[in-house]
């Protein structure tokens, strides 16, 4: 290729706590090309991006060579690095609101690209840039503050700032994670339209599939597969890539397949291939060899150094038996039925109509999904269905009985307060009481006053042990606190807690948004199994492909209106 925009050779990064976050990474980016670094949390992709900018914490050790244009970053003086940043390398951060100083107008934020170097922006340039990016009434809008802009528009403003000096390289660290799905595509289109080479760090497979030219799959600090985006997604070769794609709803065939185990701890030395303990194709040789990328794949069995593939690349890894689906009986009474419920906060002119006249019925064993952009009222509808809130008008019936009614004849019945409906939340850590050991959180529903037999502490521990095994946490310390566990473990405990109450209805608000794909797939399995046992599930998610795969029906919600 012609002179690459950025070139990494044998990059290693060690943090002060001993974690070897990047363990020998090589790649190069051609001008105008978009290379995506994909992988799950802790794989090192963000560290690589920061290393190129020279923005790692001061006590991180970087070895290897990073070359951007004609500058050797890895050996550059701080003054040189500072001059390069912003001018030859642009940066787009994840959350546009967090990326802007809340006290500065948006105009100032974009102008920073010049002010940081002691220059002033050419008059009218900022307005022209913003107009070019599709922001109407730019001259007036840019005098507003960041919190007055929408996420999508604000991200375009940060892209304007990043591209202000027409750098050859723009590093985008999860630029669409904080945005709604429809905004994501337009944001990436804007990014590519700048003409710069883009290093895109993302865990969103869909976005990468649609916009990236090449893809590098990262695992445990190494690149395990590197190739054109079309090739990698159509014909993944590395076992981790295949497992990752099988666990992602968008690319999975059927219900996503979870990946057992966890990535290795990077604070300890890793012998051989890091993925071997979890790999379906693992051979004894994998414990000793860890080859670099060969034909775009770093796998000791597929492409051993200096040899032909030893196993059949096309062989399918073992599949998971799909969950059982119960046939739906339309005659059964709906578990929950909402009749023209509406929710309004505030009064008069400043009232917010979160939900308008929504009607919905869910039968036992049915999984209903609700999709929609953020702020459309999905979470409020969920709270109304769970009778956490009483609607301002309309009725909610649980199991054929009127439970809440809004309006002039306000009614609230505590009928639901006995484990009939249980929640699953987006934040796994917040779902559990941080001071309680997990056996206590898990078996708390069993201590409700209405229950006939309330177990004592000893029995509760035994029950907790059983339930943990059902979610694959058999050997977990019962006395552990949520802070000591991973997010995936916490969410599984939260599901076990919800199910222990034997609910007829589960309401799940973005249950997998905070989790990696390989872990999220397991959560989806638990939900599917619970539905088979007769529990009705209403699930809200911003990931349309997830809902399409899991749910019997998907409804869309927009500005409070359900369709």
């Amino acid at each position: 290729m012609s002179q690459p925009v950025v070139h990494c050779r044998d990059l290693h990064v060690r943090y002060a706590n001993g974690a070897h976050a990047v363990r020998g990474v090589d790649f190069a980016l051609a001008p105008g090309e978009c290379l995506a670094l994909v992988g799950e949390s802790g794989c090192g992709k963000t560290t690589i991006a920061r290393a190129i900018l020279g923005l790692l914490p001061p006590n991180a050790q970087v070895s290897g060579e990073i070359v951007v244009g004609s500058h050797v970053i890895s050996a550059a003086a701080p003054g040189l690095l500072r001059r390069i940043r912003g001018r030859e390398i642009g940066f787009v951060a994840q959350n546009p609101f967090a990326a802007c100083n809340p006290l500065d107008r948006v105009e100032r934020h974009v102008a920073e690209a010049w002010h940081a170097h002691g220059q002033t922006p050419p008059p009218g340039r900022i307005g022209a840039m913003l107009r070019g990016l599709g922001i109407d009434r730019a001259a007036e809008q840019m005098r507003h503050y960041p919190h007055q802009w929408s996420g999508g528009m604000l991200q375009r403003a940060t892209i304007a700032a990043a591209a202000a000096h027409r750098p050859a390289l723009i590093i985008a660290d999860e630029p669409t994670s904080a945005l709604d799905a429809d905004r994501a595509d337009s944001t990436l289109a804007v990014l590519r339209a700048t003409g710069a080479a883009i290093l895109l760090v993302s865990h969103d497979i869909g976005v990468v599939q649609r916009h990236a030219d090449r893809v590098a799959v990262c695992y445990a600090g190494r690149i395990v597969e590197l190739g054109s985006s079309a090739e990698v997604f159509a014909h993944p070769r590395h076992p981790y890539t295949r497992a990752l794609l099988a666990a992602t709803p968008r690319t999975a065939q059927g219900l996503p397949i979870p990946l057992a185990g966890t990535p290795p701890r990077l604070t300890e030395a890793i012998h051989g291939c890091a993925f071997a303990p979890r790999c379906a194709f693992a051979q004894p040789a994998c414990q000793h060899h860890d080859p670099p990328l060969h034909h775009g794949v770093a796998c000791p069995v597929l492409y051993p150094p200096g040899g032909a593939p030893t196993i059949n690349v096309a062989r399918e890894p073992e599949t998971l038996t799909p969950p059982k689906r119960a046939p739906h009986n339309k005659v059964l009474t709906p578990v929950v039925e909402a009749r023209r419920v509406a929710q309004r906060y505030g009064r008069g002119l400043r009232a917010v109509h979160a939900v308008r006249a929504a009607s919905l019925a869910v039968r036992p064993g049915e999984i209903v999904g609700i999709a929609g952009p953020s702020g459309c009222g999905k979470s409020t509808l969920l709270r109304l269905l769970a009778t956490i809130e009483t609607p301002s008008s309309g009725e909610v019936w649980l199991n054929g009985e009127l439970t809440t009614r809004g309006g002039s004849q306000r009614l609230f019945s505590a009928m639901a307060r006995n484990g009939f409906v249980m929640p699953i939340f987006q934040d796994p850590l917040g779902s559990l009481d941080r001071r309680w050991p997990i056996w206590r959180s898990l078996t708390e529903p069993l201590t409700a006053p209405q229950r006939m037999k309330r177990p004592d502490a000893h029995q509760r521990r035994a029950i907790a042990r059983e339930r943990l095994a059902e979610v694959g946490l058999a050997h977990l310390d019962l006395e552990a606190r949520p802070d000591e566990l991973s997010l995936g473990q916490c969410q599984r405990i939260a599901i076990a807690r919800a199910l222990i109450a034997e609910p007829r209805l589960l309401v799940a608000d973005e249950p997998t948004s905070a989790l990696d794909a390989s872990v999220a797939a397991g959560i989806l399995r638990f939900l599917a199994d619970a539905a088979y046992s007769g529990t009705a599930i209403v699930i809200v998610s911003h990931d349309r492909s997830l809902l399409d795969i899991l749910c019997d029906r998907v409804l869309t919600m927009e500005q409070g209106i359900l369709s």
Binding site: P258, A260, G261, T262, P277, E318, T319, L320, T321, P323, A386, I388, A416, R417, N418, G419, V421, M422, P423, F425, D427, G430, S431, L432, D433, R434, R435, W436, S441, E444, P445, T447, A448, P449, Q450, R451, A469, E470, V471, G472, L473, A474, H475, L476, D477, E479, A480, R481, D483, E484, L485, S486, Q489, A494, R497, A498, A501, G522, R525, D529
Partner: protein, 295 residues
Amino acid sequence: MKFSQLLTRQASMPVETIPPTRSLWRQLLQHREARVGLLLALFLVGLALGGPLLAPYDPNRPNYREKLAPPSVEHWLGTDQAGRDQLSRVLVGGRQTLGTALLILSLIFGIGLVVGSIAGMSGGIVDVVLMRLVDIVMALPSIVLAIAIVGVLGPGFQNLILALVVAWWAYYARLTRSYVLNARQRPDVIAARLAGIGWGRIMLGHVLPGVAAQLLIIATLDLGALIAAIAGLSFLGLGVQPPTAEWGAMLSDSRLYVAVAPWLLLGPLVPIFLVVVAANLLGNALRDILDPARC
């Protein structure tokens, strides 16, 4: 492969957990500032408790022949204008000052907790009225309110306690209320409610331990300020009356003779300072440990 087999395989893989230090004591001992604070606190509490026993002389018995004697072997901290042994007075005074401070803190803690919980849980008019009361009390600086109350009711031990409790409780009530309001929306509380657990048990199990931890941090940090307030008020003649030994009152006595007998000043001043330092160290350590790691 069946899903259950995947789960078994999952369970058999090594689980990544961070080795915990769950016990609060152990965490305190590992914290550098806390160790110093604990040591100081232990020393001071020991002195306070053992005060009367350790005191070599009767702290209130005058001995005019030995008045204003500098520190010596017989009197480690010298004597005051009535010939009373300073060391004995400091030891006994410690009990007085520290005991009063702890008593006041407990009352403040209790009242603040109760009022804040009621406000947070009731909502509506009760909440508005209580919070308005809190705002009004907090609109006056604590010392000023305390001086005014004692000034009007007259000096004395009981009035001192009343004044300081009235002046200090409001902040704790406000903290409790915002914690309770926040806790009502917490996911784990909502899950417990849906499961059928009653509000009483939720308050006891989920909410109160957390808010008590927050208040404990504030109380420990406030101990220093409270001791300074007690000593200050006694110094101004508004607190404990002579001849009771109390650090603030001793400071007040020392003023008149401070030019000729500086040891009268240092005797009570050093322990006050040490107590405040110990309380600050412990308070900061508790804050580091209990918050934000837990809520």
